[in-house]
Subunit: 318 residues, 6 copies
């Protein structure tokens, strides 16, 4: 259990807590002495740190991406807090929870997951329900599904981001299917639950977020297909046509070839998955940018990297 979070560190105070080492660089001071220039991070943010008079012999070994116990003092450096490290030791990984050290959803992943499962269980019996449950109730998949970010950056780029994104999409899909009752609701919901499942293997998120080598070679769309095909093989009598339709929804959800979908959406539910996914991602990116820049002077936010433009901040309340 972490004792103190980066967000709460104030200059001129002692600090003793655990952190993730985001970066570690050995440098030489003007005096010629070696020191370590570190960035320490936890789920609340990141802070610069210095370990002066560094020597490989006396300082315990640790690397970037390790979790460490730090004992030090918070100073004010050029107007920002910075930790002067007195003592630093490696933490055993089994004692820590990732959610404490990486950016994470503000909501409870377990609760979101339970709600998602509950929604799927309310579906009519049939192959779609069977497939979704075989995936969501699979412990290995479930553990990753709860933690995975939805993207490396841009939107929902935090632990639990995939789940938060999908939860929003499923609720939005229910409203959309209420509005267009001729849509096949269960196919739509299945498409949304599965469309980004490849992210759980495309991305590495047990430390800083990174693409896995296989993720970089194949991409999450192809990886999602393999996961879903493996589950379908376990369900006797799963209809071939339905299988093709689900695979197509996954394949086409980026909407265009140049965005990495080798097929464009060829039926209504595939089109809706693409539009809702795109809309929810972009609105979340906007919401985050508004929050980030709410105290920034002027009418405009900074440039949003997902939308590649500055945004007009909301003025009057609608």
């Amino acid at each position: 259990m972490k004792e103190k979070y980066v967000r709460d560190l104030r200059p001129d105070s002692q600090v003793r807590s655990t952190f993730l080492v985001q970066s570690k660089e050995r440098k030489t001071a003007n005096s010629g002495a070696a020191y370590l220039d570190l960035t320490l991070q936890d789920t609340s943010g990141a802070i610069s740190a210095k370990l002066w008079d560094y020597s490989e012999r006396t300082t315990p070994a640790f690397e970037a991406d390790d979790i460490v116990q730090v004992d030090g003092y918070v100073e004010n450096y050029r107007g920002a807090p910075q930790v002067r490290v007195r003592k630093i030791t490696l933490c055993p990984p089994e004692e820590v929870s990732l959610l404490d050290y990486l950016p994470r959803t503000r909501r409870d992943p377990e609760e979101m997951y339970a709600a998602l499962l509950e929604r799927v269980r309310r579906m009519a019996e049939g192959p779609i329900r069977a497939l979704l449950l075989s995936i969501l109730e699979n412990p290995a998949l479930a553990e990753k599904y709860k933690l995975a970010p939805a993207a490396m950056s841009y939107h929902h780029a935090f632990l639990g981001g995939l789940l938060e994104h999908v939860s929003s999409l499923v609720a939005l899909a229910d409203r959309t299917a209420d509005h267009y009752p001729w849509l096949r609701r269960d196919l739509l919901i299945a498409g949304l639950v599965l469309h980004d499942i490849g992210k759980i293997e495309e991305l590495c998120f047990t430390r800083g977020f990174r693409y896995s080598t296989r993720g970089q070679l194949l991409g999450h769309i192809t990886m999602a297909l393999e996961i879903v095909q493996a589950q379908i093989r376990k369900i006797p009598g799963f209809p071939d046509e339905l299988k093709s339709e689900l695979e197509h929804i996954i394949l086409s959800h980026h909407g265009k070839l140049e965005f990495g979908s080798p097929k464009e959406p060829l039926f209504a539910e595939a089109l809706v998955v693409h539009y809702l996914d795109d809309l929810d991602s972009k609105l979340e990116a906007m919401r985050q940018q508004y929050a980030l820049d709410q105290d920034r002077p002027g009418d405009w936010t900074g440039r949003n990297p997902a939308l590649k433009r500055e945004l007009l901040k909301p003025r009057q309340k609608g």
Copy 2:
């Protein structure tokens, strides 16, 4: 009141009814005699017609786009019905209702319009509500708003299509704002009611659908701005910021420069207007294509011109 509709004409029967002349061409038979090759249309469809032994002196004058009273006999020509015209006379325009002669919404425009007005009246007092009512309660604008198609082709290309499209969008926007409660609901709804209002002047729809000359020179986005600006001038104290935001929503609703929007959406409600408009248009285009091709053999519809692809017909019910 029309007596008979194209859809109901059967070979080997008499016909006496009014029609819109879609096309009229003077041709010469192998015998050397002149005849008229006509296409007659009403809201239910179009049919080929021939007037043999044509002479300018004896046949009453009429042109394409006129409404005519036809007296004739329905024959079978190469497997399709065709009218052999005995007598044809011009109909006075004031006696006919356009809704009988052009493709039209299956719903009642008056009812849809009343529902839209009622929704707007439920808004909180304020400049947005005032603006929308000043437009929707303006008799000249209202009359056109009820009849305008939403497009020349592609989607909602029928009388009342604009209203049907907007009615769907406003209801969808209410669901979307329920889902994302931080959106400014009234701004969103105003954006949707106004985004395509330029269509009422961009398109001519009192006969076959055509672009007006001014519509072709300026486009419906620019024309919508002029209509909305004119109404805003009549509302004392309309906030400048709100005016800019509404204008921006209209301007940016095509989403990209290459689709004719000189600005991309720069705040959340503008983005949502673009996405919902695009989604509703494409789903309606898909729905129409499914309906058109439901009896076509095979898994696929014909090529849909709006989506530029064949569509997989819905198979199992969702």
Copy 3:
């Protein structure tokens, strides 16, 4: 065994042979009598045919894509031969060989396949060789691999086209690997043998060539992955890294996102597969165009649809 081929039909002679019905249309003559307008085809070409005085009651039933026994007389119609059908009856499909009725490779598929197998067997023992043999020696896959065309049109669009294309590519790869000895030759050859294997399910080729519904939804790249993954699951201890590399070669072989590859080639052998595939396809398209237009007057061929240009015919011999 077919008795006579389209290529050999001459005006003013009897014909009695079997053909594939490419198209069949019921028409009405000026006299009002019904007749059938047919196109008959076999591997050597296609010919127009007429069955006059057609009646559903007396003429045996058959449809487009059926193989029929035809008894008739070859006439000259506007300078081209045309069959006047006297008698037409359905042929039982089990009695015919597809190779007689569809455009096909000029080479012997069995021989090409044997040579390909022999080349693979010469590889060093290991997972690549094991995978290729498990596929090429699988009777169900082998049967399709021997017959599949390499494309719907453009290049190698004939029975055995896939195999002819792959055989050329494997030989070209051996030469290329001789030239660049640092390339991993077996990975390259495996990539070429597998890159288009999805075509055996993307295309239907037991009658006229068509996309299968699943083929249109997923595309041959995605289908190739599923076939290869299924075979790899049967090989214990197949290395994960090698699996990812083979999958990547298949995925990236179109070279660019806009050509349907969700990933661009990320290592040398993937790049070479893309280039050789592209070069061999385009050279074959050119070679076919040269052959087609060798007697055409002037310096240029007609427009080649694969290359989207006219070609300069080869003049002096190099």
Copy 4:
């Protein structure tokens, strides 16, 4: 009246003059003492300045974009002059003329404006002349028209730039209409006078050049339409067709959708406005680059941001 210009400041001399504060940053010296790092600007250029031993209590308040009276000493810092500020006080805005502090046209705006007015007055009586005079003789519009830059950067990015650009265009249009006498000269000239008038509200130019919020939301094309439409409403009987044509010229003057024109030029004068505008802008950008780099060694200028290329410097005189 400014006493001294940046261009004339020499190291090792006293300076006492007024400047616009381009940027102001509070920094901390190695000694721990606070100081201000400033950039001071006037119409002749910009210079770095330092105010050492800064304290909020004793230094008079001022911000970036203010005009200040500076008392100091010019030093040589790393080969460039830099002001060591002794005393700095805010100047009342009503006492200064913008033309002294911002980059500006080398020509006299009043003279250019008078010439433009005179040219318009020479037109034949009629609605075009009436419209142009109603705009050019409107004092509020005239004041802005004389000062506005033609762009944020790229070309004519200085006070009076719009007027200089339009003056050049009108003279060029007269020559072009002499060459192509079938062009409607007055329509062409009106199009050029009005095409960029939206810049007077799209840009803020009373301090450093910036986009206004409304400018960023709507763009100068849409803003020009509103200005022109407002003037046309005041002219009784202004022909509808002419109004549409002028609006179209404004709308289409960027030539292509992807450059922000929702319509491409649809008649000859609109096409000519687009070409002349583009040519004059690019030639001015080239001329400025040649002037800037005339002493640069080698055959090439630096990269020109408007043309996105290096330019060959003019060698022999033509």
Copy 5:
């Protein structure tokens, strides 16, 4: 000397004149008899013609692109005149002037050429003048320069079109250089005289316009370089820098790589050549379209193939 032009042929009259055979097709009448379906053309237009009861033995031999003497009768066929040919014989090519049989400039090529030469002779002595004269006074080049069309279609696609286009450009360039006096006028004029000179070999225009084989392989830009380089080699001491600049103007005059210019304009005169060429071509295409459609009902012309849009016809006179 031609006796009668297509434009003057009236139904129910004899015709005896020479024409160019635009197309010739052997057809079979319903009766089984062979006849020739011809299109005859001269500079004023084209007309359909029939030679009934055709026999290879009795009718004199001629081919498409030959010039023939025709003796016949003009009939009315479906409302249009058509020649019933009685007698047709080949004309010796040396007896005819191309200008009579192909679309041609309305102006006198000799006069235009003389004016162009005169303009060049007015240049200051120097290498530019020397080069232009060496080309324009070269009889072989001059003969082609006077006749070449400026394009296959789109603009100035008639005999003398290149010369008409260049004459317009040179006059326009003089006006432009008056306006921008810092431009190197002679370089500009030389660039315009030479930019399209490759057309004289890219196109074949001694009969119907066609690309030459070499023209299709290399394009007129590359061919212009070869012509110009050959002339420069004959001028001792021609400056290297000037040579490069002229070559660059020719190379870059299409403005962008995707329009076939391997380099974009890199100095002012090259830019101006590109803009003037583009403007003059498009204005001429517009002018031709206006002329063609001046009696067409409605506000719009038909679709212009060069500009790929319909044009608004000029309404009020400017």
Copy 6:
């Protein structure tokens, strides 16, 4: 003869050798004293150097791109070797060989050239062989051909790079022509030998690699044409058709207009030249990147600028 290479310099040792001055900048130390900040280079790499207490009067004059004799001491600066210069003097250019100072092929240019010549001499007698020999045996051209790099960066960007690239291509072409025996082998080889010959004038490579002014204005494709045309003029009776084909191969070898080829390949050998050139360049760029990053941790290389992507490093040996 160079005494010592950059690659062999070790901290804490004396150095006395010749180097090329890559860059030279006069700076001021904190103490106010002037010093020179230099980068010295030879074929093995580059190293930073400092000349302290610099004075224009006492230090011998030299500039960037000069070759200098340096006498100094190698220090360790921030973990990297750096030369403290004691004495520096200019070297006479005639005493040095470029191959010692610029990055160069690892192979012997003379040997490669001899092999290329020998291959050409083995061709059948005829105009192709005559042309190639006239070029390759021309001493002025040969000297440049042996030294020219194949590109400014990206691939073969070193002395001898063009020759190494062409040598590889010619050998690859022989293998390709063995595989596709219907290709005109000599035309293919001639195309490859000549396709990039313009590089010998487009690039300056007697010091750091740079574009020549003429190279930047015209590009190597246009320059290659001029070189080849000049040689062809010297060969009596060189066939026109063959000339056009060779010119076309050169012109089209970039494959697409947007890559600077004004024509796309229009016959088979031109297509093969484009593909082989592209493949060999990209494979060489990959090979270099693999070599550069072989000791870099992880599965991926750094971003390759030619391919614009990271590359997967080869893992198992193929």
